[in-house]
């Protein structure tokens, strides 16, 4: 009986820690992707990324795999 309770508590602890870790890392990633909207300032890298998305690189190729 005691063993069962200990196992359940242990499982609960593991599950809660996984959830907290997952939420923490996802939140961090989402924060990093944001740009400052309130002050209407634009990060140089964000601007460069948007410009990149407008063009096609000249050495761009379509991958269908190697035949041999």
């Amino acid at each position: 009986m005691n063993k069962k309770i200990v196992s359940i508590v242990f499982l609960l602890i593991v599950m809660v820690s996984i959830t907290i870790t997952y939420v923490y890392f996802n939140q961090k990633e989402a924060d990093e992707k944001k740009y400052d909207d309130s002050g209407k300032t634009v990060n140089d890298q964000d601007l460069a990324n948007e410009i990149d998305d407008m063009f096609i690189e000249e050495d761009d190729e379509i991958e269908i795999g190697e035949i041999v």
Binding site: K40, T41, V42, D44, D46, L47, A48, E50, I51, D52, D53, M54, F55, I56, E57, E58, D60, E61, I62, E63, I64, G65, E66, I67, V68
Partner: protein, 272 residues
């Protein structure tokens, strides 16, 4: 005393038998689990590969909202397929020299040629060009895989490496003309995009665009000049241009995602 010894022997035999049974059972179970793990790994790997291809395709169809963008993607697919057909033909010839049966490979090459013909006949300006591109690309990947697996079943690793080395250089030379043409079309596509960007900025640098079209300056230099131009503007104007670019790129991304989802729906429907 003798009876006691006999009983003892019987117990030992039973115990040994039991231990053997347990060890055999656990070994079988472990093997089955290992087998299941291997199968699961293979399934996971295939799924991962499919996801990567899907993401790449989604990126590729983002520019297909214009007929020039669609034409470029179809030309790029044609080039990739043509390269593989040429390599495949050479591989089949080498295998013939080694006295292998190449009929299976020739049949796959025939289907690849039919696909190439379909790509050539596709009108980039038509409404279904994106759908056709996605279908053709999928078929090209499958045929390439089928050919690769057939060759691998016939040759060992050493022979395969030798074959790869023999066909590498020759094919590059044969698709050079098409490669140049694609680069030219990409420059024209980028020129159109440059005009759109200059339209947003409010001033155009025509000589710069001409220099880029003639190949005197690279796309990297063009992008750098654009960034400099926008960075010289005041904060509000910079933000305005950035927002417009972002909005346009998000729209293209959403359209591409919706298209892939729609195609998935269609595929599932057909499967049922």
């Amino acid at each position: 005393m003798k009876k006691g010894d006999e009983n003892m022997k019987k117990i030992v035999v039973v115990l040994v038998l039991l231990m053997m049974l347990i060890s055999i059972t656990s070994t079988t179970l472990a093997d089955e689990e290992a087998g299941e793990d291997d199968q699961q790994d293979q399934v996971d790997e295939t799924q991962d590969q499919e996801e990567v291809v899907e993401q790449e395709t989604q990126e590729e169809i983002k520019v297909m909202n214009t007929s020039l963008g669609a034409e470029i993607r179809l030309l790029q697919l044609k080039k990739a397929l043509l390269k593989n057909i040429l390599k495949g033909e050479m591989a089949a010839e080498v295998l013939k020299g080694l006295e292998f049966d190449k009929s299976g490979l020739e049949e796959i090459l025939g289907r690849m040629m039919d696909l190439l013909k379909d790509i050539n006949e596709t009108n980039a300006s038509s409404n279904d060009s994106v759908q056709k591109f996605v279908e053709f690309k999928k078929e090209a990947i499958n045929l390439t895989k089928e050919f690769r697996e057939t060759v691998r079943s016939l040759l060992d690793e050493e022979q395969l490496n030798e074959l790869r080395e023999r066909i590498r250089q020759m094919v590059c030379e044969q698709v050079e003309g098409l490669d140049k043409y694609i680069r030219n079309r990409i420059r024209q596509f980028n020129r159109n995009q440059l005009y759109r960007l200059y339209g947003l900025i409010g001033e155009a640098n025509n000589s710069f665009i001409e220099e880029y079209l003639n190949g005197n300056i690279t796309l990297g230099m063009v992008k750098l000049q654009l960034c400099k131009m926008i960075n010289q503007m005041n904060r509000e104007r910079r933000y305005e241009i950035f927002s417009e670019l972002k909005e346009e790129n998000i729209k293209k991304k959403i359209n591409a995602e919706a298209f892939i989802d729609q195609m998935h729906g269609k595929g599932k429907g057909k499967g049922k």
